[in-house]
Amino acid sequence: MVHHLQNLYEVLSKVDGYIYPNEIELNWSILIVLYPYITGLVAGAFILASLERIFKVHVLKPTYGLALLTALAFLIVAPLPLVSHLGKPFRAYEIMITPHISSAMAIFGFVYLWYLMVVLLLEIWFDYRHDMVVWAGESKGFKRFLYRAFSLWTTDISPKSIALDNRIGYIITVIGVPSAFLLHGYVGFIFGSIKANPWWSTVLMPVIFLFSAMVSGIALVMFIYILLTRIRKKALDMECLDMIAKYLFYILIVDFVLEGLDQIHRIYEAEESFEALHLLVMGKLFFTLFIMQGLIGTILPLLTLGTFQFYKPKEQVRKIVYLVISVMILVGIFFMRWNVVIGGQLFSKSFYGYTTFKIGLIGSEGYLMAAVWVIVPFIILSFLLWLLPPWKKKEEGHEIQVS
């Protein structure tokens, strides 16, 4: 607390122009940057999985299971930065039991639970039930117990029941696609609906969030797929990777166009807040917006992936480029969230001045804590991959449905 106040005194000495006195404190810090980032990764990864399942892009098969498990690992972590950021974390459940319906944030619990319970868990369960029954027979000890428990002690692996699993799994995926759209479009609405903040208040915000979510989620699965295949010492399925890259390219174009449109609209209309936002973008946000988000996260990947659409270098080169590009996009989208969340709080709502963002290494809102929330999903994913390795799945399960 003393440290917190010292911090604020330091920020107070660095204020540019005039800001309302209560604006010295930045209310949403790095944890709230992570929240839309992680949720976006979930939505994006899920949409990649559904490309295979619903839109029948079968070359993406090697990443289907991986994408689902990635989505689950990150979804489990998604609300944790939010809850740990609350002033009263132990009252977090109030948002579920007494939601205030005019609040965009109140719906979070429901959208989240719907997505976790109805979409992801069910889809993964139906997808893996058959395998879990088989694996339970092949394993021993605790692992065997886990398979038994997670398959809810079902043992029926007759073709009829497997066909039913597939049928239900397919229906859930169909429900899942709009749900993924809802999940992340909704996160965008949390920001887009704040009329007090001209940097956030745009009707395009949910759509921008959605497309950037798809971009980041697909890049994440691409990154994990390349890395994981390398760790497993297996050959990469280049056809699959090229296809992911193609989708990444198209969705990145849409994302770029939408964000460009938002800014062009802002500049052309040049409303009351324009001057303040212009100075913000050219000053405090220049590096994170133009360099990290724009150049590294968007322009360079666009040019590279675009070139690959008509000129394909050797496999070895493509592999490395894909790995680098996926990391660049992941970094770029992180800074996109940064620019929205932090950027939206750096200028005063009086439009007369700016505050500074200051963050420490330690503390519940420091860099280390943020790093923890980024690392934890990977630990969960490792566990999920150990328990439910997609590459060991019995192939016939899905094939019946899709082929």
Binding site: N22, L86, I101, I194
Partner: protein
């Protein structure tokens, strides 16, 4: 003793159950629509409806209101937590605008710009606008912020989860999170004083009577005649927050 059966048939039980369940479903389905309409609803027209008037021409920038507020309401004394503060506007001859509020005006003001460079200068006391369609109430995820029937926006600190969404949603910068409590805080219009028939602290202490407080629906109130006799305006009217803080002599520089 024989156990008595409840006097209800199975059919009735299911019927009642179905009606209740159906009602819940319908109410759940309709409620979110109401939620969307929050800011689209017209403001209240009947009953007691508190509003505030501030005469910019009368404010001398003594900052007593900001101090009185802090003392009366136990607001942290640090210079970044205010329920009420005063801003000094200085418009220079070249058109540039300088706004200041050192320690919210509590320690008084010192004009740094030489007289000959000043086009005009004035003070603007700021506080919660007690909006009729307050964006902070709209966004509170648990309903800890609410508007009383007589038009005061309050926070239930035993209920607030400290998500800070309301702080983001207030266009006027009137909210902050209390560093000790971890919950949001704002002007209560000194409701504890109103209940005793007293004026809010900042109104009572104002030496020039620049602040007028009253019932907007009462034609006999001081506020009513203040609004009638002056050209009053709210800050950021374009946001349609239903602000009930009316300023006399408000110029477009004030935001």
């Amino acid at each position: 003793m024989k156990k008595s059966k409840p006097d209800i048939s199975r059919r009735d039980f299911f019927k009642t159950g179905a009606i209740i369940a159906g009602g819940v479903v319908v109410a759940t389905a309709l409620n979110p629509i109401d939620g969307f309409l929050f800011a689209a609803e017209p403001a209240k027209k009947k009953g007691k409806w508190y509003g505030i008037g501030i005469d910019i021409n009368k404010c001398i920038g003594c900052g007593k209101c900001a101090l009185a507020c802090k003392l009366e309401n136990n607001v942290p004394m640090e210079p970044f937590y205010f329920r009420s503060w005063v801003e000094q506007y200085t418009i220079k001859n070249d058109g540039s605008i300088l706004v200041e509020s050192p320690n919210g005006g509590i320690d008084g003001f010192h004009q740094k710009v030489p007289d000959e460079e000043i086009f005009k200068s004035f003070f603007v006391p700021k506080m919660c606008n007690h909006c009729a369609k307050s964006p902070c109430t709209q966004v509170c995820p648990v309903g800890a912020t609410y508007e009383t029937p007589d038009g005061i926006v309050l926070i239930d600190e035993n209920y607030c989860i400290g998500c800070r969404y309301c702080v983001q949603a207030c266009p006027y910068g009137c909210r902050f999170v209390n560093p000790e409590k971890g919950t949001a805080e704002k002007c209560t219009l000194c409701i504890h004083r109103l209940e005793k028939g007293l004026q809010p602290a900042c109104f009572e202490i104002c030496p020039t009577e620049a602040r007028i407080f009253g019932d907007l629906n009462d034609p006999g109130s001081k506020l009513h005649s203040f609004l009638k006799n002056h050209t009053c305006m709210v800050i950021k009217p374009n946001l349609n927050t239903g602000s009930k803080l009316f300023y006399n002599a408000l110029t477009p520089e004030v935001r």
